[in-house]
Symmetry: C2
């Protein structure tokens, strides 16, 4: 096992009716900005619940944060916060609203151009405190320090991370997910699954507890995913998916082990260039990454085949091929297509992506830092 | 899944050489009290490492905190803290030193008799901040809010819990465990295993991720335990045991599920009355509790038999009996005897324990709150 530091102070309020508890979690005299997205919280009752709980409090609203939140939109919220003297943010929505709110929180006290926080990884030294009401299990943003923001003008999708943007609290009420469109649940399952794979499917470092915990999340997603499509009102299935998505990226399964993240870095380019959903890009890229990188991931692929998919017969080669096929089948079975062609994207995107990586001073990706432009090209070519 | 709140802000610094990092974690101007136990940290080099890192800082020492820390000893430390104006505690040792330090932290600002914090569950409203350097993987105290203290005068062993006594940080360096006597490693493995069982082996509430995470810890303890006896200098085996022990009782596997803890409550009495090691009492009581409560724990016992021990053949009755036998065998295999008679304790202890429970206003124990004095009597009678 490698050395590690683990720290995660997010308070999780999980279960039905928990939105009522946010009143006690936000300072009584706070000037609050409620941030949200396209308005689905207004049709599913979450907006009303939040307004009721915060009745009589000093509340301003900022809606319209889009999927893959845009810098241009978020900077408008930064202006509101500065102008109104707001000192607490409440993000109500999915990963994009939470990621966007983290950026707002860090950008408000930032001196200079806030895009530097992502483009130049400028140091975040202060942030407005914030809490979250999560309505879409997927990104894990509710219990981590990560934020991904897209600059619309240049079609760049970049990330930053800072312990200053841990949510103070996050409410996870599975009932808020009952009304989600199936596509968002599909995406959430693929997103959580791939988050686990990025931290698990690398090479062995004798960390059996982390391995088993990662496999626990994968198996639970495989088991609970179909239930939640069969019956969207199945509270327990939604609760289990929701808790899996949080545990997939709160840092715990990744302590003391190598991590990959090449699939995410390549996927971000596909979203930025072609507007694909984040999870769609992961469903496309992950099977190809596993295939192209099978030699370097050999031992973990065998372990994954056996423990997650129960594949124990046949040659090592065959078992690995089967496990990757099962991964692709699972993504397809929960409704996410796994080929570039399924989304009308052709091979002509490859040189564009390579060029963009290189212009940003491409650092090789992956757990061995050896996924160079040639390897990215192979991965994308196999994804057609 | 049941509703839950999860919050754990302890910063874990894990791995070799991490003691050096405590300098940055303790405020520069702090008046520090270093607390420790019987002096093993002076022979294994940990004391020297800590002193070196804190050279030039304002440091006072308080040694002699015994296993199952005594109220009488801890109150002396409280006097030192008050008299010297100490404002940060650093616990260096195992669970007893950490538990004792939590009590000191809470007792210093407490108005009235600090024993009331345990005996009357008096509210803790303030505590001196503290950090920990853990040298013995077992109790999980390094990442939770629990503390167990023994009043020597009356032979009472009681606990308290408060979010104010979370360690600010805990250093877990597996190398500090290389010189531990085998008995302490044995005890640590049984302690961690039983912590998991108290949260896992109850009844199903459709929380598959929590179940699998609990099983992950059990299986890792079963797998890594023998390795650490075969080679005490096996860094990875020690690291894996250490991380298992922390994860067994940091709250995570117990979220949203029922919990038992009858074994612990009965075990505490055996320690208080007969001086048995905490883990020895657990090794004695757990197999009997599982046997006497098998009807109420039926489904989970079957799941445990299959997933942890691979027992799938035979009648349900047989599988459950086998799984309980395997549990007992595992405890014996890591060097902890599992019968009262092994420790010279006879059935005459039973009425004494029942009497003590009843004098404290016995509340029925267990996940159904139905382990009444008659059931406790049966469990203990079966433990002979």
């Amino acid at each position: 096992m490698e050395n590690f530091v683990f720290y995660n102070p997010v308070k999780i309020l999980f279960g039905k009716g928990q939105i009522a508890k946010i009143a006690a979690e936000i300072p009584a005299d706070a000037r609050i900005l409620v941030t949200y997205g396209g308005g689905s919280i207004k049709t599913n009752g979450v907006y009303d619940q939040v307004k009721l709980v915060l009745a009589g409090r000093n509340v301003t609203e900022f809606g319209g944060i889009e999927p893959n939140p845009h810098l241009e939109t978020l900077l408008k919220a930064v202006e509101v916060v500065r102008k109104e003297g707001i000192d607490f943010l409440l993000a109500v929505g999915g990963g994009s609203v939470l990621d966007g709110t983290k950026f707002i929180a860090a950008a408000v006290p930032f001196v200079g151009d806030p895009w530097d926080i992502l483009a130049k990884q400028a140091s975040v030294t202060a942030a407005v405190p914030f809490g979250a009401v999560l309505t879409l299990p997927a990104t894990g943003s509710e219990m981590n320090t990560n934020s991904v923001v897209t600059k619309w003008e240049t079609q760049e999708k970049l990330y930053f991370s800072s312990p200053l943007v841990f949510p103070r609290f996050s409410v996870l009420d599975p009932e808020t997910t009952f009304s989600l469109p199936p596509r968002q649940i599909s995406n959430g399952i693929v997103d959580a699954y791939t988050h686990v794979m990025e931290q698990y499917l690398t090479y062995p470092v004798n960390a059996p507890l982390q391995d088993r915990m990662a496999e626990s999340i994968l198996k639970t997603l495989i088991e609970e995913g179909p239930k939640t499509f069969a019956n969207p009102q199945d509270y327990d299935a939604r609760a289990n998916i929701m808790w899996c998505a949080t545990m997939a990226l709160n840092g715990l399964i990744g302590v003391g082990v190598p991590q990959d993240w090449a699939t995410h870095m390549i996927g971000h380019e596909l979203t930025a260039l072609h507007g694909l959903d984040h999870a769609q890009t992961l469903a496309i890229v992950l099977p190809s990454t596993l295939t192209i990188r099978r030699d370097r991931k050999w031992q973990k692929l065998l372990q994954y085949a056996e423990r997650v998919w129960g594949i124990v017969d046949g040659s090592e080669e065959t078992r690995i091929t089967d496990a990757i096929a099962q991964t692709r089948n699972f993504f397809e079975s929960v409704g996410v297509r796994t080929r570039l062609a399924d989304y009308g994207v052709g091979l002509d995107t490859i040189p564009v992506i390579i060029d963009r990586f290189e212009k940003r001073g491409f650092v090789a990706l992956g757990e061995h830092q050896d996924v160079n432009p040639e390897v990215v090209e192979k991965i994308l070519a196999l994804s057609l």
